[in-house]
């Protein structure tokens, strides 16, 4: 077998951010712009990392100075859309510039994307398929915007778009792609609206100083069984019990929602919005059933 095609990183930052009403690449989480965060994240796994962008965005401060792949004007206007083929255009432009390269493609609106998720995707990569992608935890369909696209996909994408196809997700549904179940179930939650931005900020502890802290978590009853442990030390950016539970809920797939629980901090009932300090001990309390 020949060696698999070399892999580069591609951050898709060419979107219009219409529903957010501000540039999603420039949104700040835990003290850093999202585009800087995701470029740094990718750079820990692949090299080099490029930023896909529209020409009009090239001088915008968050993008300027990064290696850019601008949308190829020769591809614009293909398909039936009015420029809505943004992600397709970005991926095709990258293939156009480096035809023999496989791309780890990541959208810039996934603030919860983790090293664990990327490591899982890279370990699962099958270069003999057109793509290796996660299956959405929400609808089971492929997630094209956190996926490895092999060079062989370039021609298939061109044919798909020539046949009026516009959606990379639909392309992957029909294509020969390897789909895997994400271990980090929250990693691909995307942020499209100001409300989702606020939620993600809370999860990432944007109100704190951006420094992780150590917490002690104890598990009881159903949560102990689902976590597979009775206690652990957690290093987290979360600053409230609500944000910590959201993180653990995603990690362990807890079946109990936050609204069914109470929370104790340092041995006393507490509030979900309580501001945590390093070393605090948390217990999430499932519905009780004494007597």
């Amino acid at each position: 077998m020949s060696a698999p095609p070399p892999l580069h990183g591609l951050v898709l930052a060419g979107g219009a951010s219409a529903r957010m009403r501000q540039d999603k690449a420039a949104l700040v989480y835990a003290g850093a712009a999202q585009l800087d965060r995701v470029v740094a994240l990718l750079a820990r796994h692949v090299n080099p990392v490029f930023v896909s962008s529209r020409a009009a965005q090239a001088t915008e401060p968050t993008r300027a100075g990064k290696p850019l792949i601008l949308d190829d004007p020769a591809l614009v206007g293909l398909g039936s859309g009015s420029g809505a083929a943004g992600p397709m255009l970005g991926i095709r432009s990258a293939f156009g510039r480096f035809p023999d390269i496989a791309w780890l493609v990541v959208a810039c609106d996934l603030p919860l994307l983790s090293d664990a998720a990327l490591a899982q995707l890279l370990a699962a990569r099958d270069p003999s398929r057109l793509a290796t992608a996660f299956r959405s935890v929400h609808d089971g369909l492929p997630e094209p915007l956190c996926a490895i696209w092999e060079p062989a996909a370039a021609a298939a994408l061109a044919a798909y778009q020539a046949a009026e196809g516009r959606c990379p997700r639909k392309f992957l549904i029909r294509a020969d792609a390897l789909l895997i179940e994400p271990v980090d179930r929250r990693a691909l939650d995307n942020v499209n609206t100001p409300e989702e931005y606020a939620q993600a900020q809370e999860l990432l502890g944007a109100n704190g100083n951006g420094q992780p802290m150590q917490l002690r978590i104890q598990y009881y009853a159903l949560l102990r069984e689902q976590a597979g442990r009775s206690e652990e030390n957690l290093e987290t950016l979360a600053t409230t019990p609500a944000a910590v539970y959201a993180q653990l809920h995603a990690r362990y797939g807890f079946t109990l929602g936050r609204e069914q629980l109470k929370v104790a901090v340092n041995g006393a009932f507490s509030d979900w919005a309580h501001v945590l300090r390093p070393g605090d001990a948390l217990v999430f309390i499932p519905p009780v059933a004494g007597g």
Partner: protein, 155 residues
């Protein structure tokens, strides 16, 4: 401590003795037993688990509330943890008071509040081999947020 968690069998005679008082004319106790069925399923045994630190403080708080609400002499509550078989005593409440009315009232208050507030969990092991945490399994709902995307997809 007047609220206790015990790994071993509850000694009700000793508990009753602790409540004795020359001024008390009434003694009321409640015993919660492990029964062999729940919600139509045959139960073989139970498992109780407690978050001891908070269970003890919350239990003491409930006993203090009972003494405030009812003019009683003494109150005591003991809850088992660990594995229990059918017929075993899972929880015991004892109250002594001058007259019977407040003893009944306080005993009822204590057991009701303990069941609702103290972080103790019960796992039922059914005769068919299945098991489940009471109040946790059937009401479990996914808290995952809906996926937001710009348009719909169908395979």
């Amino acid at each position: 401590m007047r609220f206790r968690l015990l790994q071993t069998a509850i000694d009700t005679v000793a508990g009753r003795g602790e409540l004795s008082d020359a001024g008390a004319g009434a003694y009321v106790s409640f015993e919660g037993w492990v029964r062999d069925h729940n919600e139509g399923r045959a139960v073989e045994r139970l498992e109780y688990e407690a978050f001891a630190e908070l269970a003890l403080t919350e239990g003491e708080l409930i006993l203090a509330e009972a003494r405030q609400r009812f003019p009683i002499q003494h109150a005591l509550c003991v809850h088992r943890i660990g594995e229990l078989r059918i017929g075993e005593l899972a929880v015991w409440v004892g109250v002594s008071s001058v007259h019977r009315g407040e003893a009944f009232g306080a005993c009822r208050y204590i057991i009701d509040e303990v069941k609702h507030r103290v972080p103790i969990w019960k796992k039922e092991h059914y005769r068919d081999g299945d098991s489940g945490w009471v109040n946790c399994e059937r009401c479990a709902a996914s808290a995952a947020p809906a996926h937001e995307h710009d348009h719909e997809h169908a395979p």
